[in-house]
């Protein structure tokens, strides 16, 4: 026996596409709202976080600007104080001015590098400080031309005569109708430290530019690339916040986006600008975004996995119920078929009965007549008698056959009734005897006469026994020598046991667990529906019983049925389990 699994590719495709559709729908309805909500929350969060960062930076820059402004004005006030409290004659004395510088450095700050008195012609008349700048001529110096025209002046940072970056604070006074200037140099490094503390993240730093874009402080990063040429103008033109801070975002030629937060100081001459790479400034935000993204991706993956799992489970269930439905449909169809076959058989049996009866009686008539004739001398008398006897014998056989057919066909109703299992088995065996004879098989019954009647549908019982016996005959078809099918019944603790044992080819162990599966058949396509045993299983199950199989290759197969005699919980009254045409299913 071979048991190939019947494949149904088109059906598989249908269930696959059903699974796909369910997966897509579940994914769509669960992921779309998740993405929309998280996207909305994330964008809101980003906006408010950005505003917070800008506010914070603006605040920082503003504070720093006020710091620097007050520093500058403080230094200017110091110088003004020196100029106001001392006379020109005193200050042009070397010793005096040295003493003044000393006092300044002691009382205020070491930021004062040197001190000098310059006359209206730009000539430094007195100097106190570390450099040799006595009688230096500043008439051409830029700071001097500006300083001589205003009362106070703070210069831009420049290198000047000493070759070191510095800037100058000046106060203009008048002595004997002529202007003179008291100038002090502010230590660049000390000034620089004011800004150095303004450092945030990896790339955030602050610098001061003058209106020509020149550095007024030393950039924190040596290799800093700040496009300072236009920055001053750019910031000046940008919108400013109510507090006077300019915040702009600019894309640099290298593709990076920078944030510039600027504030003008020293009366608008200088620009304090804080620069930071945008990615760096928003690194916390980006971090949060990344975490959110990971959570979304993981959730999406879980949803997809669940969708696939759920759909597969559901489709598997649908598949099972589809199969059950198909079996039911098949059963209904087969019931109809059996009923019409029954009617047809009954009709034919009736039709045949009359001619057979006439034949038998005519033969009897000839016998009667022969008895009257004096045929003692007739050589063929015995042969006549034998032939007539034969006709009557065969007539009786015809009668038996039609009777079997009729009694089978008569019971195609599905109503539950008291059924004597032994009678049922005898009837089915009688019906199969002829077929068994052709297959060279003996059907032997060993029936326990004490079996009680059970409540079941007669047709369904016929169907189970027919299926099992036909399967056994099929298994014995290819066997050499005489086959044997044994049908036994016995009673055991309130149960009826029916055994159908054949000595056929047996069922391979590999497929044994699947023989009760619907559509599983060992027969060539078109010969078996693969439903026979699954229907048997359904019928026995409905009666609250069990059907089991043991098989050994080349030794035979043993089907065991157990049916409880007490009424089962699931009375088999539905129409689906009804009679079914004989099926040769292994």
């Amino acid at each position: 026996m071979r048991f190939p699994k019947r494949r149904r590719p088109s059906e598989n495709r249908y269930y696959q596409s059903l699974t796909r559709r369910m997966v897509l729908i579940i994914i769509f309805v669960s992921i779309t709202p998740m993405i929309l909500v998280s996207g909305f929350i994330l964008s809101e969060f980003r906006t408010s976080y950005q505003a917070k960062i800008y506010d914070h930076l603006g605040e920082l820059v503003l504070k720093k600007k006020q710091n620097i402004d007050s520093f500058l004005w403080e230094k200017l006030s110091d110088i003004r104080y020196v100029a106001a409290t001392n006379s020109y004659q005193d200050l042009v004395y070397e010793d005096f001015i040295q003493e003044e510088l000393h006092i300044l450095r002691r009382e205020f700050d070491t930021v004062f590098e040197d001190l000098g008195v310059v006359n209206a012609d730009g000539l430094q008349l007195a100097y106190a400080g570390p450099f040799e700048l006595e009688y230096a001529d500043y008439s051409k110096a830029e700071w001097f031309t500006s300083a001589i025209q205003t009362e106070y002046h703070i210069s831009d940072v420049f290198t000047g005569l000493r070759g070191k970056p510095h800037f100058i604070v000046t106060v203009r006074n008048i002595w004997e109708g002529k202007h003179w200037i008291l100038r002090a140099t502010i230590d660049f490094l000390s000034f620089n430290t004011l800004l150095e503390k303004l450092r945030i993240g990896q790339t955030g730093f602050a610098i001061i530019l003058n209106q020509y874009g020149e550095y007024q402080t030393k950039p924190f990063f040596k290799n800093i690339k700040i496009n300072n040429k236009n920055l001053y103008q750019f910031m000046k033109q940008s919108q400013q916040t109510p507090k006077g801070v300019h915040i702009v975002e600019r894309k640099e030629p290298d593709g990076q986006r920078n944030i510039y937060v600027g504030s003008f100081l020293k009366g608008g001459e200088w620009l304090l600008v804080y620069q930071q790479n945008k990615d760096d400034a928003f690194s916390d935000l980006r971090h949060a975004q990344n975490i959110a993204l990971i959570i979304i991706v993981v959730s999406a993956l879980i949803i997809i996995a669940m969708a696939v799992l759920l759909s597969m489970k559901m489709v598997a269930r649908i598949q099972v119920s589809d199969r059950e439905k198909e079996i039911m449909n098949q059963q209904v169809i087969e019931t109809g078929k059996l009923a019409s076959i029954g009617e047809l058989a009954a009709g034919i049996a009736h039709e045949i009965n009359n001619p057979v009866a006439i034949m038998v009686e005519e033969a009897g008539w000839i016998e009667d007549l022969l008895a009257e004739e004096d045929l003692a001398s007739c050589e063929n008398l015995t042969e006549f008698q034998r032939a007539l006897h034969q006709i009557r014998m065969q007539g009786r056989r015809c009668k038996e056959i039609t009777h079997k057919l009729l009694s089978f066909a008569r019971k195609t109703d599905s109503s539950v009734q008291d059924v004597q299992v032994n009678d049922l088995i005898t009837e089915v065996v009688n019906l199969s005897v002829q077929k068994a004879k052709y297959a060279n098989v003996d059907i032997v019954t060993d029936l326990d006469p004490s079996l009680p009647a059970i409540q079941m549908s007669y047709t369904e019982g016929q169907q189970v026994m027919l299926n099992l016996i036909n399967n056994a005959l099929y298994a014995l078809e290819s066997k050499d020598g005489r086959g044997r099918v044994e049908v036994q019944t016995r009673r055991n603790a309130g149960d009826i046991h029916i055994d159908v044992i054949d000595n056929g080819t047996g069922i391979p162990a590999a497929i044994l667990p699947r023989i009760f599966d619907p559509f599983f058949t060992s027969k060539p396509v078109g010969k078996g529906t693969g439903l026979g045993l699954s229907i048997c299983y359904g019928i026995i199950n409905k009666l609250g019983g069990e059907i089991d199989v043991e098989s050994e290759q080349d030794r035979g197969t043993h089907f065991q049925i157990r049916i409880p005699t007490a009424p089962s919980e699931k009375p088999g009254t539905d129409a689906c389990g009804d009679g079914m045409a004989v099926e040769k299913t292994a």
């Binding site: 009954a346 049996a349 009736h350 009965n353 009359n354 001619p355 057979v356 009866a357 006439i358 038998v360 009686e361 005519e362 009897g364 008539w365 009667d368 007539g395 009668k399 039609t402 009777h403 009729l406 009694s407 066909a409 008569r410």
Partner: protein, 137 residues
């Protein structure tokens, strides 16, 4: 049946007057021939109507009635015959699987039934038994 002496009495004594009703002419003829050969006085009727006419013409002891006929339902014929002659004993011939009809026939007054095709000896025995019943009453 128990009385051995009465068993052969009809065959040796007076003839049983038998009405044979069957619409299958071939069967009717051969059965009539064979029963006639067994010294029964057989009248053939090929339909329910003919049977009724025959009973109207003369008395019978026993009628063998096929229940499955084309012109009339066998049960109907049975009822009419029993009405016409309540003493008439009727043996029914039925097809296989018509137990229901046979039982109904028994309720309507038939003496016995047989399924077709039947053994002649069996039929003969049923006829004689019916005749004995008639004799007893």
């Amino acid at each position: 049946m128990s009385n051995h002496s009465t068993r052969h009495a009809p065959t040796h004594g007076e003839q049983i007057r038998l009405l044979l009703v069957d619409d299958e002419v071939g069967y009717l003829n051969v059965l009539a021939n064979r029963l006639g050969k067994r010294r029964l006085d057989v009248v053939k009727a090929r339909s329910g109507c003919e049977a009724i006419q025959a009973v109207r013409r003369q008395d019978f002891d026993v009628a063998v009635l096929d229940l499955l006929m084309e012109d009339m339902d066998g049960i109907e014929v049975l009822k009419i015959l029993k009405k016409m002659d309540p003493d008439l004993k009727v043996v029914m011939l039925t097809g296989h699987g018509s137990e229901k009809a046979s039982k109904e026939g028994m309720r309507c007054g038939a003496s016995d039934y047989l399924t077709k095709p039947c053994e002649l000896e069996e039929l003969l025995e049923k006829i004689r038994e019916a005749y004995r019943q008639k004799q007893r009453t």
